[in-house]
């Protein structure tokens, strides 16, 4: 059987702002048979999206295809004219972007945008296109397929919008669909629905697919073959089951190892269990204060929890469950509307401004995006030096040697100290972000989704670093994440939040048996590295309708 896609020795070059040309794809070859789904997997910067885009003959601005051929059904996308490529896009090759919210025009009804492809290519009359769209909506198991197209993009949920953008890609009956990290921005409970819908539609239509992702577990569910990429080169190609069980290349093994759940290990021995932080009946929210003394939008309601010295608390829940608001209330960024915060035996004021400098020093918060948490106009030295001077009055030589120590603690070379944040990689930035919190010599660090923006391998290294620092400095962490495996890896206790309330508190001993129905749904929704996981997974439909955002 002839392959639908044949990529041979593909090279893509990018021009930097100094006019230098850099090869970002270094001779990649791959084949896709009709009806086959191939996953491109690798960390950010590995060139997986760049390769996927060349299948449509497209490169991002500043980049160009400098060599090789990209044959789709016998036509070389590299040598075709732009007009000929435009004819192929949407009808033979279609694209599903990572962020459907950014890909839809917020000012137009969804159905108009879904059938647009048929109008541009004059494929079918408008009425027929609409009927076809509704069929696709049904096939993608969207609710109310007859009427959902009449809504505007902001009126449907993120998971629904992602499926609608798949409908947009499928309406032109393409032979190849490119999925560019389509579920990365979704909650795990939503992700399952979207993956199932994608899989069944692709199977039914016998459509070939390219699935770009950094998440091996997701890829394991949907792909027939996996291509592992790094630095613009193919590391390993193989059938999904082979890659997962008999990986040959060391990098693939590293990726797999980063995915293995690493339980907390032997419990750190604490001489006596002392309560470090105790929160009672905390509520917080946004908007004007109402008559009952509570804000208009209550993001966190009546949450109580305790953190013991030298032990870690994980807070888990989907986006919008109030976990970040809870972190902000504890740190005093958003003063709590009611409840008490007891830290190291003294009661904390609600707002940062009223707290004493020592209290501020002892509790540090580390944010998700190191890009926005580090001032781009300052050098690493200045960023780390400020808390040293502010809290400890360190100056000159003493401060310099302490900065070196801090860089050493987070395993960064000392030569980085004169660099600016934008000259560092994502993992390095997150390490600097931590070093700044450590500079204060805190007792408690609140980590708000610190690994969510990082690649799997890098995130695993950050988690290892956190554990190591805890052993050395007897810190406590509050670890907030939507990613259960990350929380499992580091926390002694896990709090599950839903709709602004704490629904359950779990200790790892009983972790496998969560009691609350929402916890059950959440825990069972995390993808496993087992290709048959999605097909055999049975979720209680009642639970899904109650807690899933369909």
């Amino acid at each position: 059987m002839e392959n639908l896609v044949e990529v041979r020795d593909l090279k893509v070059e990018a021009t930097t702002d100094s006019g230098r040309r850099v090869e970002i794809i270094k001779g990649v070859s791959l084949d896709i048979a009709p009806g086959e789904i191939v996953a491109l997997i690798g960390e950010s910067g590995s060139g997986k999206t760049t390769i996927a885009l060349t299948l449509m003959g497209y490169t991002r601005s500043g980049c160009s295809i400098s060599g090789g051929t990209v044959r789709i059904a016998g036509k070389d996308m590299v040598t075709l004219s732009e007009r000929e490529r435009a004819g192929i896009r949407g009808t033979e090759v279609a694209y599903v972007p990572q962020s459907a919210a950014a890909a839809f025009n917020p000012a137009q009804r969804i159905i108009e945008q879904v059938v647009e492809v048929t109008r541009i290519h004059r494929l079918m009359p408008a009425e027929e296109a609409r009927q076809k769209a509704v069929e696709l909506f049904r096939a993608l198991s969207l609710p109310n397929p007859e009427t959902i197209g009449g809504r505007y993009p902001h009126q449907v949920s993120g998971g629904q919008l992602q499926r609608l953008s798949a409908a947009m890609a499928l309406i032109g009956d393409p032979r190849l669909v490119i999925f560019d990290e389509p579920t990365t921005a979704l909650d795990v409970t939503t992700q399952i629905e979207v993956l199932r819908a994608f899989k069944s539609v692709m199977k039914k239509g016998g459509i070939s697919g390219v699935y770009v992702s950094h998440d091996l577990a997701v890829v394991a569910q949907i792909a027939d073959r996996i291509v592992v990429l790094r630095n613009g080169e193919v590391q390993e190609v193989g059938a999904t089951a082979d890659i997962l069980t008999r990986a040959q290349h060391p990098y693939t093994r590293e990726l797999l190892a980063a995915f293995e759940p690493k339980p907390r290990g032997e419990e750190t021995v604490v001489e006596e269990r002392k309560v470090l932080l105790e929160i009672k009946g905390l509520s917080a929210g946004y908007g004007p204060i109402q008559a009952d003394g509570q804000p208009l939008v209550r993001a966190v309601q009546d949450v109580s929890l305790t953190v013991e010295k030298g032990r870690n608390l994980g807070i888990i829940g989907e986006s919008g469950c109030g976990k970040s608001t809870l972190a902000r209330a504890i740190a005093g960024i958003l003063p709590a509307s009611s409840g008490t915060i007891l830290f190291d035996k003294s009661e904390l004021e609600g707002s940062v401004r009223q707290r004493s400098r020592d209290h501020l020093r002892e509790m540090q918060i580390v944010f998700q995006y190191a890009d926005t948490a580090l001032n781009p106009a300052k050098s690493i030295e200045e960023i780390l030096g400020r808390p040293l001077m502010f809290y400890h009055g360190m100056k000159g030589k003493q401060r310099d040697s302490r900065i070196d120590q801090l860089l050493d603690m987070v395993h960064l070379p000392k030569t980085l100290r004169h660099r600016r944040p934008q000259e560092l990689s994502g993992g390095q930035k997150q390490r600097v972000n931590f070093a700044r919190a450590l500079a204060a010599e805190p007792k408690l660090i609140i980590c708000d989704e610190v690994t969510s923006a990082l690649d799997t391998v890098v995130a695993a290294a950050i988690i290892e670093l956190l554990k190591e620092l805890q052993r050395e400095l007897s810190l406590s962490y509050i670890f907030i994440s939507h990613d259960l495996s990350v929380v499992e890896a580091i926390c002694d206790e896990i709090v599950v939040m839903y709709g602004g309330r704490k629904v359950e508190e779990i200790t790892p001993a009983v972790l496998k048996a969560p009691q609350h129905p929402y916890s059950k749904l959440l825990f069972s929704s995390v993808p496993r590295l087992d290709p048959s996981w999605l097909d055999t997974l049975e979720l209680d439909p009642e639970l899904v309708t109650t807690y899933g955002h369909r």
Binding site: T16, D17, S18, G19, R20, A331, G332, I333, V352, R355, R357, L360, Q364, I365, F367, Y369, T372, A373, L374, N375, P376, A377, K378, R386, P387, F390, Y391, Q422, E423, R436, A440
Partner: protein, 280 residues
């Protein structure tokens, strides 16, 4: 606006030739303004030509004005007033505007509301009109001109800086600084200011052009720099009678104003950009 012309690829910056032309014209006028008293061929107030609106000649390179005074000397000296007054006014306006704007953005609340409404009200008064009223009321002197021009252009600088600072203020590193317990002064100076200097400098250049034009306009109406000294606007005004004769005395100061304002615009549209590719 004081970056030296040596910025090049070697220093990790890219600087287009259009920007360099703008910078060199600006530097040229800047230097002229400094050394004018030492290079003028004739005293500014002295009548040296027997003809008025004299043509360009080897003795008077730029002709003579409506009284027979040397035009070249008057233009060179005029650069002092036009560049000096405008620079002083724009510095004051931008300093006040940026400091108030950043404070309003960081403090927020009623201070922000009060400052914004007050300065919006100031903004709603036409600049030329308020300039006329002030000068007519207290008389024209260089100090009065500088202060008036600065006050007229402060609200715009405030609006601009506040808009930039509000965006920076939502960044996580500001939140980190706040949870560290930092004061307002530190947040403004160390966290916000370094991140808005680029756009603020561009705004300063633009506002400088506005002030040159407004000052020239005031002088053209006879309310600016007073005789026997004259800035470029005043030079156009006093020699406007030479227009029917095609006298260089009215054309040359207009060209001087145009060259300065256009060169500032060329520069701020083509500021040197840092090259992020370190391996180049």
């Amino acid at each position: 606006m004081t970056q030296s012309a040596t910025l090049s690829q070697k220093f990790g910056y890219r600087f287009s030739w259009v920007g360099m032309i703008g910078l060199s014209i600006m530097l040229f006028w800047g230097i002229i303004a400094l050394i004018a008293p030492h290079i003028i061929p004739h005293p500014v107030g002295e009548i040296v030509d027997e003809d008025y609106f004299g043509a360009i000649s080897s003795r008077f390179w730029l002709g003579s004005d409506y009284l027979g005074r040397d035009m070249l000397s008057r233009i060179l000296m005029g650069a002092r007033y036009t560049v000096g007054i405008s620079l002083a006014a724009v510095s004051i306006a931008c300093f006040c505007g940026v400091v108030l704007g950043m404070t309003a953005a960081v403090v927020g609340g009623w201070l922000d509301a009060a400052l914004s409404r007050f300065l919006d009200a100031m903004n709603s008064i036409p600049g030329k009109l308020s300039g006329l009223v002030v000068v007519a009321a207290v008389g024209s002197s260089i100090t009065v001109l500088i202060v008036t021009l600065a006050v007229i252009y402060t609200p715009g600088a405030y609006r601009f800086a506040r808009a930039l600072a509000v965006n920076i203020n939502t960044m996580d590193y500001i939140t980190v600084a706040r949870t560290r317990g930092e004061g307002i002064f530190y947040i403004i100076r160390s966290e916000i200011l370094p991140n808005i200097t680029g756009p603020v400098l561009a705004d300063l250049g633009l506002r400088f052009v506005f002030i040159v034009l407004l000052l020239s306009g005031l002088s053209f109406l006879g309310l600016g720099v007073q005789p026997p000294y004259a800035d470029w606007g005043a030079l156009v005004h006093e020699n406007v009678g030479g227009l029917p004769f095609g006298a260089p005395a009215v054309i040359v100061p207009s060209l001087a104003i145009a060259s300065l304002t256009i060169s500032v615009n060329l520069l701020i549209d083509n500021l040197p950009q840092k090259i992020r590719d370190r391996n180049a």
